[in-house]
Amino acid sequence: MLKLSGKNIIKLSVNNVVREVAVRPSDILAEVLRNQLGLTGTKIGCENGDCGVCTVLVDNLPVKSCLMLAVEAVGHEITTIEGLSDTPVQNAFIEKNAFQCGFCTPGFIMVCRSLLNNHPDPDDYTVESWLQSNLCRCTSYQEIKEAVKKAKDLR
């Protein structure tokens, strides 16, 4: 049985690169990504699972990284917004101006990427139920919906 206590060196595979980090078992994945790996594209907002700005992909599925311990991520593939540079989803958000301040954008892009990987041609109900996991204070919802449609066509 694996037991971790105090600080431990663990290996995390992030954006297809294996990185070593020193963590306590109670360290949250979102903070380790930002503070130890410098991947500050993942944002932290509510820290309570409500806003979705901390969303990353774990084995291709969206997970709110404020609700995941870093030690739970060992052995899984993590994708952050930095891993989606110049992809159809990112380009669709730019083309459709699907942001204003941009704080929520990484979270939305992660969900959108996973949605289209798992449902290449999603119906409106599926799009809504996946994207309802994220909040946009600037209310760019209409443009975000258009970006999802655009991303689908660009793939």
Binding site: M1, L2, K3, L4, S5, G6, R24, P25, S26, D27, I28, E31, E47, N48, G49, G52, T55, L61, P62, V63, K64, C66, L67, M68, L69, V71, E72, V111, S129, W130, Q132, S133, N134
Partner: protein, 280 residues
């Protein structure tokens, strides 16, 4: 940030999990079984729980069981709500699970965590309360099986008891069903009332969350085409003896009104389904 340290254990077997729980408990370290961790992390952040150790059950094979065998459906405690919904294995449970928190959080919340957690709604319990489901529990004394209502509508889990898996007969997953969740404003949110109904053997089985401080199963009702649905719904709801919640999210009168109207509409639809079947 979680402002304190705890130890992390990842047992490979049920026996290891229950033994380490007992050891840590004896040492005064307030261990917690760890499923999806969503409730433990959000509560630990504000020091509402302060475990000295967490025991992650996501590597225990029995807790990951998921499938149909010999007309029995088995769902391990560490299976996520999103996986249950996507599989279609028990459509009513899939609907209930698909309205808990939001889709991304459903990728992390486990069935065991929703059943055992301290948040009062336990919406995934409703389909299990009305489908003769049983629960397999591991403790220091070993494995035992019990009817779901006996554990979750009774005294709850005993200290150190681990939910291993849920099982039910496949026939209950094939009955006509309804799931209606009414929240105060948004689609995502805690329920004012959530109602789950199964029609089995022409009897309507109903379970409700949000109304009282715990989910409950209402009286069974034979579906008689001649009964008035408004009278039936009113009687069913007025017979609830537990105190109805009365707070800022919804007064007791409002919750009761919503429940009566919801049950009424379900009875009406069930009667219609029956009529259509006869006419077909």
């Amino acid at each position: 940030m979680i402002p304190f340290d705890f130890e992390y254990y990842l047992p490979d077997t049920l026996k290891e999990a229950s033994e380490i729980f007992v050891t840590l408990q004896k040492e005064g370290r307030s261990p917690l079984y760890y499923g999806g961790g969503t409730e433990i992390i959000s509560m630990a952040r504000v020091m509402n729980v302060t475990p000295g150790a967490v025991i992650d059950i996501k590597k225990i094979p029995e807790c990951l069981e998921f499938g149909i065998n010999d007309n029995h459906i088995t769902i391990g405690a560490a299976v996520t709500l999103a996986k249950i919904t996507a599989s279609g294995i028990f459509p009513l449970l899939g609907l209930a699970a698909g309205r808990i928190a939001d889709h991304t959080v459903q990728e992390k919340i486990t069935l065991g965590g929703n059943l055992a957690g301290t948040i009062i709604y336990h919406e995934s319990l409703l389909p299990l309360l009305i489908s003769d489901s049983s629960v397999c529990l591991q403790s220091a004394e070993g494995l035992k099986e019990a009817p779901v209502p006996e554990v979750f509508s009774g005294g709850g889990l005993r200290p150190g008891e681990l939910i291993v898996k849920i099982s039910l007969e496949k026939k209950f997953a094939q009955c006509p069903y309804f799931h209606i969740k009414k929240s105060k404003i948004e689609k995502i949110g805690y329920p004012l009332v959530t109602v789950c109904v199964l029609l089995y053997d022409n009897v309507m089985r109903t379970a409700v969350s949000g109304l009282c401080h715990f989910p409950l199963r209402l009286a069974d009702v034979p579906l008689d085409p001649d009964t008035d649905e408004a009278v039936l719904a009113e009687n069913l709801v007025r017979n609830i003896s537990a105190p109805i919640r009365n707070d800022a999210s919804g007064s007791a009168d409002y919750r009761t009104f919503i429940l009566i109207k919801t049950v009424e509409s379900i009875i009406r639809e069930l009667k219609q389904i029956k009529k259509d079947k006869i006419n077909a």
